[in-house]
């Protein structure tokens, strides 16, 4: 092997293993959801729901994002990843940590195994963050870089609070209600990690995929400050006073940040040269619709929580599942087939461009399977959320059967891309 190929191969292995484990977690998540379907109409603070939520947020959502960032960050910053060993070590701590945490949540045994799981996860996440910071240490004054780094800080804070909550089960040292901290933990993860990260990465990739006319970054800068300011306000105010009327203000500030991001994306969309919207991009569009639905529900939750109405709990389940299974899942289900084929294509064909006829990255996945996946995801969306809204277990289960099939199809297609055998015409 040429020594110059070594870093590329190291990066390739690190990235695709993250994609693969994440796809496996998605199948596991779908199975767990079907088993615990009956509990989805009850209180969200249920052992199996906690297990499912962590499987979705960490195993499915976060692992694939780690892989994507390892691939994307060096490209954006025109540098190499600081350390591949750190990346592997992070993954090596993350996977057993996740397994221990999810299993001990599922059987609700808040003892040593859950504590070990939380510490392993925190360590894995911290090493990931360290790798990102050291890769980006030569600051390039790039707004996308700011989004990624800030999101990593939020993720580490989320994991730290999560670990504290785990220890609080046994030692009860936190001075306030456990559910209050759970709200903070959840929003640090959902808004601090996922929302800020997705905003940064999507505003880099979507204009490139659509070939949009260059957009000014001022909207993104506004979005960055509004999202972070709103979230900080929410965390501090909720910590001291619980959910109250000021929570609306925090929600409105974050919402204003989302509006700036959406305005940026819609300008990119309207000025795009590439007219065709392919299936992966359709999945992304659907994901933004789900995000919009979740945002509409948020004031309803605050309204009912302030009144101490039980409906706040029901709407919280709907809100959480719209974000995790709707917004984040739909985005991943589509963007995987924008990013993974490119990663595999680069490995097999990049050195051959111009000297041989190579397939395109989009030729590496099965389009029929992706179409079936998209249609099944639409069925899942309609049946599952209708089931949650009307508290119908039958519709919830029907939706979950669809998401299980989505997970299987997704896994098959990911494997198809990873096992692609190069074919070259001279």
């Amino acid at each position: 092997m040429n020594t110059s190929e070594r870093p590329a191969l190291d990066l390739y292995k690190l990235v695709v293993v993250h994609y693969l484990v994440s796809a496996l977690c998605f199948v596991g998540l779908a199975v767990m959801l079907m088993i615990t379907a009956g509990n989805l109409t009850g209180h969200y603070f249920h052992p199996q729901i906690l297990a499912v939520t962590h499987m979705a947020a960490l195993g499915w959502g976060t692992l694939i994002v780690f892989g994507a960032i390892y691939q994307l960050l060096p490209v954006i910053l025109e540098t190499e990843l600081y350390s591949y060993k750190l990346g592997w070590l992070s993954l090596g701590l993350f996977i057993p940590g996740l397994t221990l945490l999810v299993c001990s949540f599922w059987h609700f045994q808040p003892g040593l195994l859950m504590q070990c799981g939380s510490i392993l996860l925190l360590s894995g996440i911290t090493l990931f963050g360290l790798n990102v910071f050291l890769t980006a240490k030569q600051n390039r004054d790039d707004i996308h870089q700011e989004f990624i780094i800030t999101a990593c800080i939020w993720l580490m804070a989320t994991a730290l609070l999560g670990a504290l909550l785990v220890f609080n089960f046994r030692y009860a040292f936190l001075q306030k209600d456990h559910l209050l901290f759970l709200k903070l933990h959840a929003h640090m993860g959902l808004a601090g990690w996922f929302l800020i990260l997705i905003t940064g990465v999507s505003s880099k990739l979507i204009p490139m995929f659509l070939v949009s006319k260059v957009q000014k970054n001022s909207l993104l800068t506004w979005s960055y400050y509004l999202m972070n300011a709103g979230l900080l306000l929410f965390i501090t105010d909720t910590y001291f006073f619980g959910l109250n009327l000021k929570s609306y203000v925090a929600a409105v500030i974050v919402f204003a940040g989302i509006v700036c991001w959406m305005l940026f994306l819609s300008r990119c969309f309207r000025s795009r040269i590439r007219k065709t919207i392919d299936l992966p991009m359709s999945h992304s569009v659907l994901s933004f619709v789900m995000l919009g639905a979740a945002i509409i529900i948020l004031p309803v939750i605050i309204f009912n929580a302030v009144k101490a109405d039980q409906k706040a709990v029901d709407y919280t389940t709907l809100y959480g599942t719209l974000l995790l299974m709707g917004w984040i899942s739909s985005l991943i289900l589509g963007q995987t087939f924008k990013t993974l084929p490119y990663i595999v294509w680069t490995r097999h064909y990049q050195h051959l461009t111009g000297s041989a006829i190579t397939p395109m990255p989009a030729d590496l996945f099965n389009h029929k399977i992706l179409r079936a996946q998209f249609i099944l995801f639409l069925f899942f969306t309609v049946m599952f959320y209708a089931g949650l809204f009307y508290k119908s277990v039958v519709w919830i289960v029907a939706g979950l059967v669809c998401i299980f099939m989505v997970a299987i199809l997704y896994f098959i297609n990911v494997i198809a891309v990873l096992l692609h055998s190069p074919s070259i015409k001279k």
Binding site: D142, S212, I273, Y349, T353, G354
Partner: protein, 108 residues
Amino acid sequence: MPPVNIREISIRSRVMEVLRQVIDPELGINIVDMGLIYSVQIDEDAREIHVSLTLSTKGCPMGAAISGGVENTLKLHFADYSQTVSIVWEPAWSPQFISENGQKQLER
């Protein structure tokens, strides 16, 4: 005014023609129609070809594939010349640089 070198003009147009074989892997259209090639300089005496190109955005994930593709193509078709490829950012690429042919392909 420097004398017109017919041979250099001829080679430059051949270079542009072969560079049409380099396809942007994400968009599926060639980099000449994409407007990514900013200049082709030929030095007949030094037997040298220099291509300046840009990318649609800084940090484009396809950057290495595109610049590598240009090098491979030049090596394949102009083996008796040495080749250099540089990536430039001024002026910043704009979709207005896409040729009519390229626009038609993207609108499909």
